[in-house]
Amino acid sequence: MIERGEVAFGTTGRNHCLLHSGGRYCVTDQESAIECIDENLILRRIMPDLLELNDGLFVAVTESDLAFKERFLEGCAACHIPAHEVTVARALAMEPFLNPTILAAIQIPDGVFEPFRFCLSFLATALKNGATVRTFTEVTDFVCSDRNPTGVKIRDFRTGKTETIGGDIIVNAAGPWAGEIAAKAGVSVPEVPTAGVMVALDCRLNNMVLNRLNKPSDGDIVVPQRATSVIGTTSWKVEDPDLITIPPEHVERMISQGEKLIPTVRRVPMRAKMAVARPLIAMTGTDARELSRTFECFDHARDGVNGFVTITGGKTTTARAMAERVSDIVCQKLNHKAECRTREVPLTSYRFFFERQNVLKRRALAQLQTSDRPNIGFEERT
């Protein structure tokens, strides 16, 4: 696996930390909602120690939200998402900072993860099973035979060294950069990098994930995590996923929408704000907010290029399912018969990712002159 930065350096690192129950999409995007609840249940099994599992509430703030309630409950039932209504009094007892004027509340099995450790756990497990992970390494070009990629040229940013590695099949899993990578192989991917802004508060105002009981829209969800609550999000198309400038009005919109769910939001200082591009799959004539959050795997044999597959779209919650889908396709193309086991195998500790690197590096470092390394010891303190 080749990654341009550290693990979770791109989109996944900066997501909203929401372990989706699927409730958010159960009316407007049921394919995505079913993917989410299925994966939610799998992730609870394979990474139980890495999740905050406090459920979530969808709350009606306005009459229009209330009118959505029946469709929401029908959507949950259609997508096998366990959902039940709780009384307003009970919701306020569970979430005392919730807007006291809410009209209805429905509890669903949302959860929260921490994206860095989420990714590290998967990669630590892969390392333990024989994978090689090259971080801080960029794919600069493809090596092709006719039009078919047979390898990639890479550059390690830590050392400046370049090399070429061969592959029977090359999988493009570069998220919103998938189009850029595909272009190097001479094909295109129907993808729309779509950014969203999130605002993290300086304290935690909710235990459960709080959502507006309506179609997904800007600032309609407050995800609590560790000692903060994170309000999200907006949705607009961007050209360059490397550097996204946060429009100040989006930050204000997060606060003004967030305070409809939790009025205290405006009184609490902001801890951080961030934006990142989602790799959504393009559909003609569709607004960024309405694009499906499902994922797709493109075998570029359809473009006359063999040995090159792109997996894109999706959400962090469905990352494992995306890997399963693309692995199945790779196995099929290589005539390799193997069952994907990632639904069942509990993940290795995320710390193993660095500990393993440490063991290997200790061996390599023993061969280096220690004088080559800079000294950043205590004596330098100013």
Binding site: G5, G13, C17, P96, E114, N207, R226, A227, P248
Partner: protein, 256 residues
């Protein structure tokens, strides 16, 4: 928009270390991580650094800003820039430098594993969590009830394993095998999650070892630098108190 000079520590294996100065155009409301991101995206893609969550939950981006250990994702540009001199960004101390701002964290994570630090813990029965919320925003804590299907609310531990305390700790510079503030705080947490005598003995044994709590010089730099209010120094002192009390009781033949 501001025009901000930034001076960044650079190192690649086989090359001499140096500082590169960049001038970035950036919004006044930016955080320091946005400055580093801009240098990488617009000026020099070979700059290596860690980043992930951008809201102080992952701990990956820790560096020194103008000499002090910080998480650049929660430090506002205007809080560290005086309007003239470059902002200096350097890697954490007491970790081997791999490249630029990137440090080797394998040893650190091995220590955190040895200290049995878990990621989730039982939540308190109230919100909000931060102690100074009332002082800053006038928000008082409120008690919470549990949903019917949950036996407890849980949440991630405060410690994000950012390594800031290890960098700020003067003892680390004199004993590179010192378990360190984060590890000792983790031992304290693990010790208070168990009543099993064998487990307690193991954890206290770690804390009482050659590179444990007695190595600490009581500088309290860790608590000062910690961005998550873990307060490792007070946990080290609490472990010392427990160990001292156990020795005294043993000396007088009392039950430990």
């Amino acid at each position: 928009m501001l025009t901000v000079p930034v001076e960044i520590f650079r190192f690649k294996p086989g090359q001499a270390q140096r500082y590169d100065t960049f001038t970035v155009e950036i919004a006044e409301t930016a955080h320091v991580i946005d400055v580093i991101d801009t240098v990488w995206a617009k000026h020099d893609p070979t700059l290596t650094f860690r980043r992930a969550c951008h809201h102080s939950s992952c701990g990956s981006c820790a560096v020194r800003i103008n000499g002090a250990e910080k998480l650049p994702c929660i430090v506002r540009l205007t809080d560290v820039w005086n309007g003239r001199n470059p902002i200096r960004i350097e890697p954490l101390r007491n970790f081997p430098v791999v490249s630029d701002l990137l440090v080797e964290v394998g040893d650190f994570f091995e220590r955190m594993s040895a200290a049995s630090m878990t990621i989730t813990c039982e939540a308190e029965g109230f919100l909000p969590l931060t102690v100074d919320t009332f002082a800053v925003a006038g928000v008082l804590p409120k008690t919470v009830e549990l949903p019917d299907n949950l036996s407890r609310f849980n949440r991630f531990e405060q410690c994000i394993e950012c390594g800031i305390c290890m960098s700020a700790c003067p003892t680390m510079a004199t004993d590179n095998k010192f378990i360190g503030p984060a590890g000792l705080a983790a031992i304290y947490q693990a010790r208070h999650k168990t009543d099993d005598p064998t487990r307690v003995k193991h954890l206290l044994g770690l804390a009482d070892g050659e590179h444990g709590v007695w190595r600490c010089h009581s500088a309290f730099e860790c608590t000062e630098a910690c961005p998550q209010a873990v307060d490792p120094a007070s946990k080290i002192m609490a472990l010392r108190r427990e160990l001292a009390l156990r020795r005294l009781r043993k000396m007088f033949g009392l039950r430990i």
